[in-house]
C-alpha cells in the first residue's frame, strides 16, 4: 500500500544521481525539483503542483535521479513502489492517458534538441520531405521503398507541387523493378503489379540486373560485359534495348567518348522511339563536349529541348549544359 510521508522544510527527498524505486505524489505543501538544463547548463527550479507525480522516470526506468527533490515547506507526499504505481497507472485511464501525453511531448522535444545538435537540416515542409525520401530511395536504387514513398506522396498530396514528378518516378521505378530478376521482383512489387511477373527467372533479366549492380558499384568494365552478353545473345528480348542503352553509359563512364558517340548514333538510328532517347542525346552531347567539340554538343542539347515530353530532369540537364557552353564561348 502507498504510504503517506511527511517531510519538514529544508529537507531533501532525494538527490540527483541517487537510484531508487520510489515514486511520489505531492498531497500538500511545497516541493521544488532542481535540475540542470542539458542545453544551457543552467540550474532550473521547478515547483511540483499539488497532485502531481515526481520521480516516475528514474524509478520505472531504474535510472539515476535526474533532479534533486527539495522540500521548501512542510509537505505530505504519497510514496509508491514500482508495482504499486503500475497498479494505479493501469487502473486509472485518465492518469495514464495524461502521463503518456506528457512523456510523448517530452520525447518529441528531446528528439528535436538532438537533431539540432547534429545540425541536420530538418525539413519543416512534410510534403517536400516525403517527396525527398522517395528520391533518396530511388537514387540509392531501393526501388521498393521509393515506390512506397511516391505512392504515399500521391495519396496525401494528389495535387501537390511534385505530383507530376512523383508520377514519373513511379513509372521509372516500376520499370526498374521489372528489370530485376524474378525472385528479387516478387518481394518488391505489390499485388497489381504481380500479375505481370513471370514465374521463371530469365537469364537476360539476371544479366541485366547484374550489369546494373556492377554499374552502381562503378565497376564499368564488368557492367559492360554483362550488357554486351545480353546484346549478343538475347536479341529478341525486352532486355535488349535496355542493355543497348546501358552500354553507352558504360562507355561514357569509362571516358571512351568515341565509342559512346558511335554507339548512341547507331542506337538512335535503330530505335528512333527508344524510351531513353533524350538521355542518349544527352550522352552524345556530353561526349562531344568532353572531346572539345562544343558546336556539336550544343546541337545535341538543343535537340533535347525540342523533345518536351521526356522527364524534366534530362531537359534540365540539357539546359544547364547549354548555359555552361554558351558561357564559355
Amino acid at each position: 500500500m502507498p504510504q503517506v510521508m511527511q517531510y519538514q522544510a529544508k529537507s531533501i527527498i532525494y538527490f540527483e544521481g541517487d537510484t531508487s524505486e520510489k515514486i511520489y505524489i505531492l498531497q500538500s505543501g511545497k516541493i521544488c525539483l532542481n535540475f540542470t538544463d542539458i542545453e544551457t547548463g543552467q540550474e532550473i527550479r521547478e515547483l511540483v503542483k499539488t497532485g502531481e507525480f515526481f520521480g516516475v522516470k528514474s524509478a520505472l526506468g531504474r535510472y539515476p535521479r535526474e533532479e534533486t527533490a527539495d522540500v521548501i515547506a512542510q509537505s505530505n507526499v504519497l510514496v509508491f513502489n514500482v508495482p504499486e504505481f503500475e497498479t494505479l497507472f493501469q487502473n486509472n485511464i485518465r492518469i495514464s492517458m495524461q502521463m503518456l501525453k506528457v512523456f510523448s511531448n517530452q520525447l518529441r522535444r528531446i528528439h528535436r534538441k538532438v537533431r539540432n545538435l547534429l545540425s541536420f537540416e530538418e525539413q519543416s515542409d512534410s510534403e517536400k520531405g516525403l517527396f525527398n525520401i522517395g528520391e533518396y530511395y530511388f537514387n540509392t536504387k531501393k526501388y521498393k521503398q521509393a515506390l512506397y514513398a511516391f505512392r504515399r506522396y500521391l495519396t496525401y498530396y494528389p495535387t501537390g507541387a511534385f505530383q507530376s514528378q512523383a508520377i514519373q518516378y513511379i513509372g521509372k521505378t516500376e520499370n526498374y523493378i521489372q528489370g530485376q530478376p524474378v525472385e528479387k521482383r516478387e518481394s518488391i512489387v505489390d499485388k497489381p503489379l504481380q500479375k505481370t511477373v513471370k514465374k521463371v527467372e530469365k537469364e537476360e533479366s539476371r544479366l541485366f540486373f547484374e550489369g546494373m549492380n556492377y554499374f552502381s558499384q562503378e565497376n564499368y568494365n564488368e557492367a559492360l560485359n554483362s550488357f554486351k552478353t545480353i546484346v549478343n545473345s538475347y536479341v529478341e528480348t525486352e532486355a535488349y534495348p535496355k542493355a543497348l542503352f546501358e552500354i553507352g553509359r558504360c562507355f561514357y563512364s569509362l571516358k571512351q567518348y568515341d565509342n559512346c558517340i558511335k554507339h548512341y548514333t547507331l542506337l538512335i538510328q535503330k530505335f528512333p522511339k527508344h524510351p531513353e532517347i533524350t538521355d542518349a542525346l544527352l550522352y552524345l552531347g556530353l561526349s562531344c563536349e568532353a572531346k572539345g567539340n562544343k558546336e556539336k554538343s550544343l546541337s545535341f542539347y538543343k535537340k533535347i529541348l525540342t523533345m518536351g515530353d521526356d522527364s524534366s530532369q534530362t531537359i534540365r540537364k540539357a539546359k544547364q549544359s547549354i548555359k555552361r557552353i554558351e558561357g564559355n564561348l
Partner: protein, 212 residues
C-alpha cells in the same frame, strides 16, 4: 508481463521483408506492437540512411503519432517477415481501457526513449571526441545491475558502430580513439564487447570535460 493477444487478431497486419511500414514525414495515426520479426527504424540524414534502432517482438513503434498530431519522425522497415498489431487513435483509448498493460508498456517505451535521447544529447555536447566516447561507456554502464556496479571494471556489450552512432562520429574516427584507449590499457577489446578497466577514471575524465 504477459498479454493475451488472441483477442486482438482483428488488428493483425503482416509485412514482407523490405516493406516500408511507414515513411518519414508521412502523416500517421497508427502505432504497432511487434509480434514476430524485427523492424528497423531509419532516418535519412543528409545523404545517408541512418539506422536509429532495431526493434524486436514485444516492442512498440510509431507511438508518437497517437498522442500528438505530427508527421512521422522516422521510417520503419521490416527486416524480415513481420507480424504486428496495428492500433490507431480511434481505438487507442478503448484499447487502453480493456488492456491497461499496453498503456504501461507504452509508458516504459517512452521512458526508455526519453532517457536514451537525453543521454545522447549530453554526449553530443562534449566537444572532445575522446570524452564523447568515454561518456558512452558511462552511459552503457549506468543501466547495469547493481552487482555489476560494485566493480570498477565493467564489461560493456557494444560495438564500434554503436559507439560512433551515439557520438555522431564516423566509425573510423571512433575506432582510432578506441584503439588509443586500448593502447593505454584503459580498456580491452573483444569481438562483441569492451572491458572498461576502471569506470571511475572515465567518469573523472568526462566530468572534467563537461565543466569546461
Amino acid at each position: 508481463m504477459s498479454i493475451d493477444f488472441t483477442q486482438f487478431d482483428r488488428f493483425k497486419v503482416t509485412f514482407q521483408k523490405g516493406d516500408l511500414i511507414f515513411c518519414e514525414y508521412e502523416p500517421g495515426d497508427t502505432f504497432y506492437l511487434i509480434q514476430s520479426g524485427r523492424v528497423q527504424i531509419v532516418k535519412i540524414m543528409g545523404e545517408i540512411e541512418k539506422i536509429i534502432d532495431i526493434l524486436h517482438p514485444g516492442e512498440i513503434f510509431g507511438e508518437m503519432a497517437i498522442l500528438e498530431e505530427a508527421p512521422r519522425s522516422a521510417s520503419a522497415i521490416a527486416i524480415e517477415k513481420v507480424e504486428a498489431l496495428e492500433f490507431n487513435k480511434r481505438n487507442f483509448e478503448v484499447l487502453l481501457r480493456g488492456n491497461p498493460q499496453i498503456a504501461l508498456k507504452l509508458l516504459q517505451t517512452f521512458i526508455k526513449r526519453i532517457y536514451d535521447q537525453k543521454r545522447r544529447f549530453m554526449i553530443l555536447t562534449l566537444k572532445e571526441p575522446a570524452a564523447r566516447i568515454a561518456d558512452v561507456f558511462l552511459m552503457l554502464s549506468e543501466t547495469q545491475s547493481s552487482e555489476a556496479k560494485s566493480f570498477k571494471e565493467r564489461v560493456i556489450d557494444t560495438s564500434v558502430d554503436d559507439i560512433a552512432h551515439w557520438c555522431g562520429m564516423s566509425t573510423s574516427e571512433c575506432a582510432q580513439i578506441i584503439e588509443h584507449f586500448a593502447n593505454q590499457r584503459k580498456i580491452e577489446l573483444e569481438s562483441d564487447k569492451i572491458i572498461v578497466k576502471n569506470i571511475n577514471d572515465f567518469e573523472r575524465f568526462v566530468n572534467s570535460r563537461r565543466q569546461q
